[in-house]
Symmetry: C2
Subunit: 211 residues, 2 copies
């Protein structure tokens, strides 16, 4: 099983690395980071680059496609090279997945038309404009298309996927070894739970500013 | 405020990137990835390299030091160059922190002697051998030393730290923007919660095999 994580300039790091950390522990899986060009790909913050070990052309038929989001998703989604690769990879993939605004790339490639899907809570309308039906769920399965909400939600998506691919015990083993027993000191991780004043302030912020 | 994330060959990616993703959103913070040599540093899985933008010598006095774990922590902890940098950086840091077996590096540098601390659940005795007092908590504060349990716990640690550094509202804002509203499909993230058969199997496994 080959898992391809797509990188593009301006991606959000945890969108990619959260699910990667868990999925890469699947016995027998090969995980590859791919981009238009092999080499360093700088993230949204500018303070970190991940190395893409392979070009898109070198990874034409991954079993699992994982697309992170980021402020740059809004331009990356219109890149014909990325769009063509996503369409071609999706034609033979077992699972096509995204985290955060990564779903905008899937949407722009025409892969989510009429499908239930999700994205960062501030990008629902952009996703809808690409033909998908945004839901408020944290992880959304619609056939082989799996989309996760903002940034950290990719970790939950990975556990769901591990369960589907390798069974509950394999997923639980990965959860135990990564000690994924979340204990956030605040309960502000969704617009329904966060203090209303914080949510209101961010609803007024241009989406280009978001992860 | 300068935040330095230490990289070394064989680190566990999410240990570094989880807290990085949240801490780097602190307004006015500069985050730098450092290693013995600038350039790509390969992770424990072998399938990903992160770029260290600076050498240790270039970042002598960070305000926050963050040390990830990984199977290689057990050899990295005895590297004199890393140990000397950790001691020197700690002499002026505001916070000295680790995730997972990253605490073994802090311990080997003599920074946790007599202190309450934590690490991956399978490495408590190794941490104790370095003079610390391991606890079962997910995030442990002892003065300016903050240690987190296995892999994913660094995200919780970052939220705690953001609260201490910038206040509750700043931390809640980061939690909302990263949608950290965990909903794992299983409840197997600690040895107390995971199925006993899985825990027993891993207790018999050599620690070198762990993340």
């Amino acid at each position: 099983m080959q898992i391809a994580v797509l990188l593009y300039e301006g991606f959000t790091t945890l969108d990619a690395v959260g699910p990667y950390e868990l999925l890469a522990r699947l016995p027998g899986a090969e995980t590859v980071f791919v981009a238009k060009h092999a080499g360093p790909v700088r993230n949204d913050q500018g303070s970190l680059a991940l190395l893409a070990d392979r070009t898109l052309a070198e990874v034409p038929r991954p079993d699992v496609v994982l697309v992170p989001g980021g402020p740059a998703a809004r331009t990356a989604k219109d890149d014909p090279e990325l769009r063509d690769w996503l369409r071609a990879a999706d034609a033979t993939s077992t699972w096509t997945t995204s985290v955060c605004t990564g779903s905008l790339l899937l949407g722009a490639a025409g892969l989510l038309a009429g499908r239930r899907a999700t994205t960062h809570w501030l990008a629902y309308e952009e996703l809808r404009a690409l033909g998908a039906e945004p839901t408020g769920e944290r992880v959304v399965f619609d056939g082989k298309y799996v989309t996760a909400a903002g940034v950290s939600s990719g970790i939950d998506m990975a556990l769901h996927l591990l369960g589907r691919i390798a069974g509950d015990e394999a997923a639980q083993t990965v959860q135990l070894l990564t000690e994924y027993d979340p204990q956030p000191p605040y309960d502000a991780g969704s617009p329904e739970k966060a203090p209303a004043a914080i949510v209101a302030r961010w609803r007024g912020v241009p989406v280009e500013k978001l992860g």
